[in-house]
Amino acid sequence: MSGVVLSLFLTFATLSLLAVGGANAIVPEMHRQLVEVHGWLDSATFGQVYALSQAAPGPNILVAAALGWVIAGGLGMAAAMVGIVTPAWILAWWVAGISERLAGRPWLRAVRGGLVPVAIGLILASGLIMAETAAVEWVGLGLAAAATIFAWRTEFSLLWALASGGVVGLVLL
């Protein structure tokens, strides 16, 4: 048991530094490691746990915790979660320190400022990709369009958009 827990920790700690763009970037590699290399669970269970953790509130990276739970219970969940979070956490801390120390240098402002349009373009893309699977029929499309305008043109809390989406979905979908 403890061997599996340690192995889970090491597997997810390695995946952590590959997760550029978040959990979705490493889903194929996670599948390969857990299902094919280690054989800890079958492909169908992997798919169900993935869908469940996507539907649950919170960051997508929690899929690691859910997989750890299914593989080795509470300890497995803790090992997977600590593994997937810690390396990226340390890197973010370190980069934040460097950019605070170098603040005001023109080249650093160019680096950071230059990344802004790329980042906004990528957020737009992730919204479009989400809409591609979530807004397939007219109700979903209408909900997505209404939420777009709500988020863009108003300053109200975005929770209203999510809650209304849930209620409309409960009735119509």
Binding site: A56, P57, P59, V85, V95, A110, A147
Partner: protein, 194 residues
Amino acid sequence: MYLGRDGPNLRAMTELAPPPTRLQLFLAFTEIGLLGFGGAAALARSVIVERNRWMAEHDYAEILAVGQVLPGPNVGNTSVMVGRRFHGLAGALAASGGFYALPLVLLTGILLLYDRFGDSPGAEGFMRGIAAAAAGMVIGTALKMGWKLKPPPEAIVIGLLATLAAAWLRLPLPVIVLLLGPIAMWAAFRRLGR
């Protein structure tokens, strides 16, 4: 401390609220983590920039941009950097702890329920409605950020190229950053020099 102090948002800076306490950071990121539904970056911006006015639009966009190219969840990285800026290690732990803690507890509950009940049809419609609204929320937030930052024409082109590359060509994120990043930085550097 403020990285954008000599940037173009001196006016916006004067409208900022006092910096958050550690508890406020923890609670704000708890809300962001809990209610993000795949759109945590959208919700984080509305909580940090709009509601609490802890950071200027441009400052937040820069931190999010760095958080996005680093491995790990964008907003998880953002929580570390925002927390560190205001309260060092304690702030970074408070913000990222808030971001992960409650969703983890809820996920455990959901896994336990799932073991027992499986999924019912009513819950499915509710989740699908939320997913559609979350998609719109993310699109709307990208439009709003682009709108408020008043980017120069070349930045708009670069942003739309990034959208095309990710949404249509489905290029992996590191490839997009390696292709567009140098061009974007060169353009930003030239603008700064004027």
